[in-house]
Amino acid sequence: MTHHEEPSAQSHPESSRSLGDTLRWAFELDSSPALAGATWLACEIVPSARDPFEAILAESTTLGALEELKGAFKMLRTTGTTSAERSLAARLYAATIGAALVRHATLITTQRGESLHRAFTELQSDPSMPEPIRALASRALDAARSIT
């Protein structure tokens, strides 16, 4: 009987911690709430952020980072595991577009007119969204009117 030995580093304390990290997040992801996925994505793209709202609202978040966030939330709108997560992703998607419009005067979507207006209006009136995000939506509505 012959067996290939697995990498020797696996018994090293540092690698043991890496294996433990993987085991821990796998166990936690198995039962994560709706916000966890969006938070994880936001932190991957804006490491200094603690959640997606902070990533979108931070003055230091660049236009490029907002475009990356928009792409990530766009995909999460369809790949989210629950309807709550997909709905949240749709709101965050609109919020990133709004942030780019308000802070960078740049439209990072091909959406125009009615659909853009509707997305910002729904974001502005959603009571589950943090107040700064709703305020951002309000400013984005004003900015959108000036370009459409």
């Binding site: 990498p7 580093a9 696996q10 294996l19 085991l23 166990f27 793209i45 990530a72």
Partner: protein, 244 residues
């Protein structure tokens, strides 16, 4: 994926053990699979207990022949159940103590008699005395590595069969590479390879990680008889690996 191959992939350790200990037509292949899955952790324990590589390999082979192939552990496992990892760890520890006792009996003067267990512990048979780099830690690291490897193989098969090579590669470079050697590759390097935006890469990785987590937890559940033991087993492994 065909139903039969999926069934084989998701067969639990306990399913395999019961089958290996039976007289079924698949007993031999089940025994080989249990042996292949267990080998790295057994070797790691023996090697970390101070044996040089060649001797550790011989002892691992000896353990497999004496304890696995003779089906002693498998029959006992079927009676006692519980956690497979704990059972395996205890069996290896007892095997080494038994080997040491027999070796000592053959090579030492008989007037000293057989060394009592507490004496064996003080001379290093008990791996707990080794602290952070103990045989238990090595065993558990290999055990978790084996579970991660097995879950990753299933994820790879699923993603590639769906034609999603990008998700597999992103997962491999960002998660597996970190798990096994502590290094990782940035999105800036990965994204251009697949013509994807960084944000899309991250979203693909999230989906892959969730699928992997689900598969890994399946693998973990397969090592405990009672599904309600899963949380305790994960907590214990994390503690033993020093990540909590």
């Amino acid at each position: 994926m065909a139903a039969t191959s999926k069934s084989a992939l998701t067969q639990t350790n306990w399913d395999l053990i019961r089958d290996a200990a039976s007289d079924s037509t698949t007993a031999k292949s089940s025994l080989e699979r249990v042996t292949r899955r267990s080998w790295p952790a057994i070797y790691a324990f023996i090697r970390a207990s101070g044996r040089p590589p060649e001797q550790a390999t011989e002892l691992t082979q000896g353990f497999l022949c004496d304890v696995f192939l003779a089906r002693k552990l498998l029959e006992k496992a079927d009676r006692n159940r519980g956690r497979f990892r704990t059972l395996l760890l205890g069996a290896v520890r007892n095997y080494l103590a038994d080997i040491h006792r027999r070796t000592t009996a053959m090579t030492r003067m008989p007037r000293g008699g057989v060394a009592p267990l507490d004496q064996l512990i003080t001379v290093g048979i008990d791996p707990v005395a080794h602290g952070a780099d103990s045989p238990e830690r090595a065993f558990n690291a290999r055990f978790v590595a084996g579970l991660i490897r097995s879950a990753a193989e299933r994820l790879q098969q699923e993603l590639l069969s769906e034609g999603d090579e990008a998700s597999w590669e992103i997962f491999r470079l960002r998660v597996l590479q970190y798990a096994f050697d502590g290094t990782t590759v940035g999105y800036e390097e990965i994204a251009p390879r697949f013509g994807l935006a960084k944000g899309t890469c991250a979203a693909k990785l999230l989906v892959a990680k969730r699928r992997f987590a689900s598969i890994l937890m399946d693998e973990m559940r397969a090592t405990v008889e009672n599904p309600s033991d899963l949380s305790a087993e994960v907590d214990e492994l994390l503690s033993l690996l020093g990540s909590r």
